[in-house]
């Protein structure tokens, strides 16, 4: 508990510095390319942070996060183009769509665990992509061009710098919500589900409610990232939202530190930022990234910012499971 306090007070000093640095960055960065990379990092931060609610807080595996991202992007793009809605209302509707899809995906999570949940979520991501490729309204593999930029009172977010502020504001808002949630009754309930389902259930934590809502919230913020992405690039196609992106987002969250607030953002800087910065070593950067991931897992399995608590908890649960199996209690890997 003292450790949690220590972290919180350290964060109290760190967070404003981070926000100030971000606010000042565009004044020191001359070229649009670097700003472009930073916007990308902001979007991946939202994605990794929202996945963290599902995996880091609630302990439910999910490998289909790109599916929510795609839903957000497509819903918002289609609403703006077909119905002429403004970005803001389209983004809100797409977040609602992300939430509903999350809740629907959360339903199988009541029955499934671990790798089985992994494959169902993976299947979800693929299904979304296949529908986007085959539906007429999404124009299939051709994608949707000409997605409008956000506008407010005559001001259009058409420059890289304005999108930078909008995307980072959204990323910081996501981080803030995640941080607040972590220390709320709701967040503690999520973490109790992660640490020991049996104990949590017997203390009266409603499993179904919390699991389903964790997926819903995760899906909602990922959809926000999708809406921002669609308006930022003005073009989306099914190729953007591959399984490799889901895996990439997953890695950001783990590398940075599972269950922490700053971790997923750090992971986004590493996995979305480094490959862009190292473009001159184009051929080697992804090879090096793969190696880096393996080496990090060997020397820092909890992620760069991860406390060993989370890892310890996973280990403990696993050991207990093995013990139960040894004792002949009928506890299978997935029930």
């Amino acid at each position: 508990m003292t450790r949690a306090h220590g972290f919180a007070s350290a964060a109290r000093f760190r967070a404003p510095v981070f926000v100030l640095l971000l606010a000042a960055a565009p004044f020191f960065i001359g070229n649009d390319y670097m700003l472009h990379v930073l916007v990308l990092i902001a979007l991946y931060s939202i994605l990794a942070e929202s996945l963290n609610v599902i995996v880091g807080f609630t302990g439910q595996f999910s490998l289909g996060h790109a599916g929510f991202w795609a839903i957000g992007a497509y819903v918002s793009a289609l609403l703006m183009i077909r119905l002429g809605m403004s970005f803001w209302s389209a983004a809100v509707v797409s977040m609602a769509a992300g939430y509903v899809m999350g809740v629907l995906l959360g339903l199988p999570a009541m029955r499934l665990k671990g790798d089985y949940l992994c494959i169902v979520t993976l299947g979800f991501g693929e299904i979304v992509r296949i529908f986007a490729t085959n539906l007429e309204v999404t124009r299939g593999p051709m994608g949707i061009p000409g997605i409008p930029m956000p506008e407010i009172g005559g001001f259009s977010f058409d420059s890289e710098r304005s999108m930078y502020y909008l995307c980072w504001a959204s990323a910081l808002a996501t981080m803030y919500v995640a941080a607040k949630m972590r220390h709320s009754r709701f967040g503690r309930a999520l973490m109790s589900v992660r640490d020991d389902e049996l104990a949590a259930a017997s203390l009266g934590v409603n499993m179904t409610y919390y699991k389903v809502h964790a997926f819903g919230l995760g899906g909602m913020f990922a959809a926000l990232a999708g809406a921002l992405y669609a308006s930022w690039t003005t073009f989306i196609s099914p190729d953007v939202f591959q399984f490799s992106d889901s895996a990439n987002i997953f890695c950001m969250m783990i590398l940075g530190g599972l269950g922490t607030i700053a971790g997923p953002v750090l992971g986004a800087f590493l996995l979305a930022g480094l490959p862009e910065v190292l473009r001159q070593f184009a051929e080697f950067r992804l090879i090096a990234l793969g190696l880096l991931m393996i080496i990090l897992m060997i020397y820092r399995p909890g992620g760069i910012l991860g406390s060993y608590d989370t890892v310890g908890a996973v280990k403990k649960v696993r050991r207990r499971k093995i013990d139960r199996e040894v004792q002949g209690t009928n506890v299978t890997q997935n029930k």
Binding site: P108, D115, Y116, I119, E126, I127, L258, M293, M297, V326
Partner: protein, 297 residues
């Protein structure tokens, strides 16, 4: 039409089954999903590609004979087995006692590493593979069965039978079964874990390599990212059959292949893959541990 799709599904499904066995064997012992498995399958195809080049076969439009096929199959399986063992030693052994999440990330990292190394060394463009039997076929009950489909089916069946014999009737196979049943007891009985795990990776990777060659010849193409989709499909097959269970992986693979072919033919070709995933989700919700659960081998 129905019978034709059944034949196509069987051929593709038996390849899924070969790859799925690697996932399931590793899972049965280490409880994690080896995401780099699909990339080992891809390396298997490249091995064959270079062996064909080495023995002087035109890869574009060339035709190979059956002995040439086996001349490529066996060394490729050996090389893939060795790569699998190396992968385990380098990327997975150091974190064997860590959490399953770190193993998963390490596996994703290994997959990224292998795929991009292949892209760097061999180029990212698709390369043609030679044909086996130059498209000859025969018909049974109105369905066209090509020789290559028959060959794929026979080779897969022989490999699976060999694996079954190995697991059931050899000492090392018995050790693998013991470790997957109860790790602690197996170690207490003096079984060398490192050796068992190495063997598991070697066998699984060799089978993936064999699958890679057959797919390469079946579709006539090889490219560095071919492991991703096949890997997802095979993983799905392994889960469908009940992960950790070797006969389950075989059944799951064949079933997935058939579901895909039939769904593609009768419902919609574009949604073929989506149908496979829908079926999987429904099966899992009704039978959360797959069709054949672990322990009922």
């Amino acid at each position: 039409m129905f019978f034709q799709q059944l034949v196509n599904g069987l051929a593709v499904g038996s390849i899924y089954a070969l790859i799925a066995i690697g996932y399931t064997m590793v899972y049965g012992i280490l409880f994690f999903v080896n995401f780099a498995h699909g990339d080992i399958y891809m390396l298997g195809t490249y091995c064959a590609f270079f062996i064909f080049g080495f023995i002087g076969i035109e890869t574009t439009g060339g035709v190979i004979s059956v002995p040439q096929f086996f001349a490529a199959l066996l060394p490729s399986m050996l090389i893939c087995g060795a790569i699998g063992m190396g992968l385990e030693k380098f990327a997975y052994r150091p974190i064997r006692n860590g959490s399953r999440l770190s193993a998963m990330i390490s596996a994703l990292g290994a997959s990224l590493f292998l795929c991009n190394t292949a892209m760097y060394l061999f180029g990212s463009q698709t390369k043609p593979m030679p044909k086996l039997f130059a498209g000859e076929y025969f018909t049974i009950g109105g369905a066209i069965v090509s020789y290559i489909q028959t060959a794929v089916l026979i080779v897969s069946l022989v490999l699976m039978a060999a694996l079954h014999f190995f697991i059931r009737h050899t000492k090392l196979g018995k050790a693998i079964r013991a470790v997957s049943d109860d790790q602690r007891a197996a170690v207490l009985m003096g079984i060398d874990m490192d050796r068992v795990i190495s063997a598991t990776f070697a066998i699984g990777s060799a089978l993936a390599g064999a699958a890679g060659i057959m797919v390469g010849i079946y579709y006539g193409a090889v490219y560095p990212t071919m492991g991703a989709v096949a890997g997802i499909k095979a993983f799905t097959a392994a889960i469908l059959g009940g992960i950790g269970n070797i006969p389950g992986a075989m059944v799951g693979g064949v079933l997935l292949g058939i579901i895909e072919s039939l769904g593609g033919a009768y419902i919609s070709f574009g949604y073929r893959d989506a149908i496979a995933f829908f079926v999987l989700i429904i099966v899992l919700c009704l039978m959360p541990t797959g069709i054949l659960r672990k322990g009922r081998t």
